[in-house]
Symmetry: C2
Subunit: 341 residues, 2 copies
């Protein structure tokens, strides 16, 4: 019932525990074994389904083989952002046989109370952050560093100096979006821009977007940039103005900073009798699962969340191993669907 130990295998094989340990780990040190004895030991271990006790191994190694994973849920409902993050992260963790202490948080208070309290070297080897933070994590990251806990982030932009991040170029998000719309013949795009969080995500995406259109000889005038709130969703007022602009043919595309926003824009356009994509094309960001369920399947810029999460785990592992890994930057890509056909 209880697990098989090295001692059990040693007894059955009539050898010492150390020999079994060495043979099974493959690290013989200064020792040697007769090949036949080694294979007999391995066979017994296999037959009895030996798996090393995680706690004992951790106690010896001084590692917990467990990382804390803190995910901000801010503005992520339905975007599958977290699900994709976890898909990538767990794949990488499972490969390494590591465990995790997963916690979600919605705001700073919750973060300090529930998450930070659980981050100790006596429980985890490091901390991985994901989701969409909307408060400054720098102080928390400094506190973790003080506790000797390595950290890594999977955010669009790095959260603090010295903390490796598996990010995505925000300028590139705007650039690939613009290039895609240009290739579809758009010349008068409207861009929804949110202030985002401290790193000015929105501004930089917008900058990339505008730069491409500018270079193509079709600069995006200020009256075709609509500021939206931090929730990345345009309000009724903004939607009405967008629909009106579309009706009078002042715009031929809408680039939204989120799929939620894009879905709402799409609905508003259709309701106003605007034909999508013939008259106006719509492009979102995140490549959310519900894109395929929209009245017209929604095109969207993917920021490769799954792959970045896996990369984040690897960055953290490097840091835990004592390295000083550099942040990485993923290239976004457009998933083209009905709204930009």
């Amino acid at each position: 019932m209880s697990s098989v130990r090295i001692l059990d295998i040693a007894s059955e094989a009539g050898v010492s525990r150390s020999l079994v340990s060495k043979v099974l780990s493959g690290r013989m040190g200064t020792s040697t074994v007769r090949p036949e004895l080694a294979s007999r030991i391995r066979k017994i271990a296999q037959a009895r389904g030996f798996v090393p006790n995680a706690a004992a191994r951790s106690l010896h190694s001084g590692r917990q083989d467990c990382i804390a994973v803190f995910l901000s849920r801010h503005g992520t409902e339905g975007s599958a952002l977290l699900e994709r993050f976890l898909d990538g992260a767990t794949r990488e963790l499972a490969r390494a046989g590591k465990r995790m202490g997963l916690q979600f948080f919605h705001d700073e208070a919750e973060f300090r109370r529930d998450c930070l309290a659980a981050a100790s070297r006596a429980r985890v080897d490091g901390v991985l952050f994901g989701g969409m933070p909307y408060f400054d994590l720098a102080p928390a990251l400094a506190e973790l560093a003080e506790r000797g806990l390595p950290a890594a982030t999977v955010f669009g932009d790095p959260a603090a100096e010295g903390v490796p991040n598996a990010g995505v170029s925000q300028e590139a998000v705007g650039e690939v979006a613009a290039k895609h719309l240009l290739s579809r013949g758009c010349r008068r795009p409207l861009a929804l821009s949110s202030p985002g969080f401290s790193a000015k995500v929105g501004e930089r995406r917008l900058a990339g977007f505008r730069a491409v259109f500018e270079k193509a000889g079709a600069p995006v005038a200020d009256d075709r940039v609509v500021a939206i709130s931090r929730t990345y969703v345009p309000n009724a007022d903004a939607l009405a103005r967008i629909a009106a602009a579309a009706k009078r043919r002042a715009i031929d595309a809408v680039f939204c900073e989120s799929d939620r926003g894009a879905a709402l824009v799409l609905n508003a356009l259709l309701e106003a009798g605007v034909r999508v994509p013939e008259q106006v094309k719509v492009l979102g960001v995140d490549d959310s699962p519900f894109c395929t369920l929209a009245a017209i399947p929604l095109s969207s810029v993917s920021t490769h969340e799954t792959e970045r999460a896996a990369a984040g785990v690897r960055l953290l592992d490097e840091a835990i191993a004592g390295g000083a890994p550099a942040s990485i930057l993923a290239r976004p890509a457009v998933a083209a669907r009905g709204t930009t056909r």
Copy 2:
């Protein structure tokens, strides 16, 4: 840098390790301490930020304080099912200071290769299942039992005898849906029914649905039941037939077994010029986040995934502690929105 140990506190307080351990754990056994000494010890521990070493504690207790969480992703993209599951499960795990080994799987092969291999008493104390399984898990559960690993499931229906489940009454899903539509004046509903998995989820939801309408004197004729595939999504053909039925006023409501399906039905109806909800009401199941993003906000039956996941963790904990917890059954509830206004 490295964590503070009991030994460190004992040195500072000028007492033995055992005394510190007893005082901090509050389990004094046959011992006693002077209150002032106890509080001095506690103060030192607090000041130095003492957190017991998880590995050492596990080694002593024989527990890993870690559970395996295996989530089937089958048919869950965008439904937020997994996200909600994890929200509930992690909250409960964090409360108990437990870790988890999370793994996603898509099919049986992946499950056997990636998940089952990681389930050992030497690594985890038990196994929790969630998501939507679409193959028979009974053999796997039997194998876990053989390994002495307790298991619990968070499925609609129990997956195997003797494995506690935090479920939801499938009949009740149909019942609350029917009652809701009845209360909105519907008398000629159409029901989309999928074969679901082995436990005949679809049939039982349908049975509950029909029973309520039958009792209300408006039985659901067979020609108003449309069978759909296991993916819970109607194909183009089915959508066309539904729209046609709606146009000739043969139906006044559509009850879908999933929000994905409901979203597609809604789109098909609107495209065919059917007014929703005036002419036909639409009701889904799962209360997915994208419900609020549909052309008309989608009403949906919630099966309380978050709460059930938390309950699942508690069931598993009971089983790990040696108990034989009974399965529980949640009552679904309707989240009423635009499509059943």
